[in-house]
Symmetry: C2
Subunit: 172 residues, 2 copies
DNA sequence: TATTATTTATTTATTGATAAATAAATGATG
DNA sequence: CATCATTTATTTATCAATAAATAAATAATA
């Protein structure tokens, strides 16, 4: 027997990996439950439905990404590169989080779509602010480019095509 | 009554829109059938299963993208920009094709994943060759960057967040 | 402190819906 | 009438979600 909040955290914790590996539709609530060590119906004791579960997991995941990027400190001319490295670092330390967030826009469920949209809108705003504060010349362009790198890294990782990131001299 | 091949083409033709709008899992074979003006079970007369249908649709879609990019002619120093514009053009003229291809890697079905992987591997190769032939300095980097722009444009479009592409001076 | 009441955690069993896929029947046409 | 096109009817499987039941923990009270 575990107190409610702990159990909920535990489910959220384990769900990321399931959603990242299987994708929203193939990630059954039974699989999430199993990963968390509880029974399938019990998941619905904490989350109204599967969509709400997913959105809660997304909240945490985006929070993680957010924290990591906010920690990056570098002079304007190196910030973009440092942030890019942070992306690759996250892929190594928190792969599930990255994969899940960077593929979330492919889910057509309206409630999820709306939620994901808001997350990306916010992330973009935050990135622009950070790049701007660092005194970068084109913060909006940099933010967009930064996101696009995240998408490419994820694509490369998911499809197991490292050559997509491979370029001439050290690259990214 | 229509001859077999025509009907098959018709199904493939209509399926793109359904897959693009709904995503693989929410795009039921019934919806595809309805869009093509046939009954649901009849779809299986042309495709062994849903996965095969999807892969066939992807083949066509990638072919379209391929054709469009191959048509782009520009001197080395303007090629990247011209290709970027081609992306945006495709989004306007063949939105479904673009959306579908650029989100296909989020499908976890092994047979589809493998197929999509091969398509991207090939596209990347082709892009590199094109950039190289044009005499661009870093063809691999350019190809990767090019793909990443495609991903970002798609994200921006799907989430209805035009600001992700908005940057300081005209942009992309 | 022993006993009872009440809450909180969790499971088992079940339902209803959806969707892919198969098989059998019907219709058209050369 | 034989062949190809197409539909109707049906099966099977999967899964989210609900409901009912059990077990464990905590609180109340005598």
């Amino acid at each position: 027997m575990v107190v409610r909040e702990d159990r909920k955290e535990q489910i959220l914790d384990k769900a990321v990996a399931v959603f990242a590996e299987k994708g929203y539709y193939k990630a059954t609530t039974a699989l999430v439950a199993k990963a968390a060590g509880v029974t399938q119906p019990y998941v619905f004791h904490f989350f109204k439905n599967k969509e709400e579960l997913f959105n809660a997991v997304i909240d945490r995941a985006v929070g993680r990404l957010y924290d990591t990027f906010m920690q990056v400190e570098a002079p304007a001319d190196q910030l973009a590169e440092s942030m890019g490295k942070a992306f690759k670092q996250i892929l190594q330390t928190n792969r599930d989080v990255m994969i899940m967030v960077m593929q979330a826009h492919a889910i057509s469920e309206p409630a999820i779509r709306m939620h994901v949209r808001e997350k990306f809108r916010l992330m973009n705003e935050v990135f622009i602010a950070k790049f701007e504060a660092a005194g970068m010349p084109n913060p909006r362009a940099a933010a967009g480019h930064f996101l696009s790198i995240g998408l490419l890294i994820t694509l490369s990782d998911v499809l197991e095509l490292p050559e997509l990131l491979q370029c001439e001299k050290g690259c990214i």
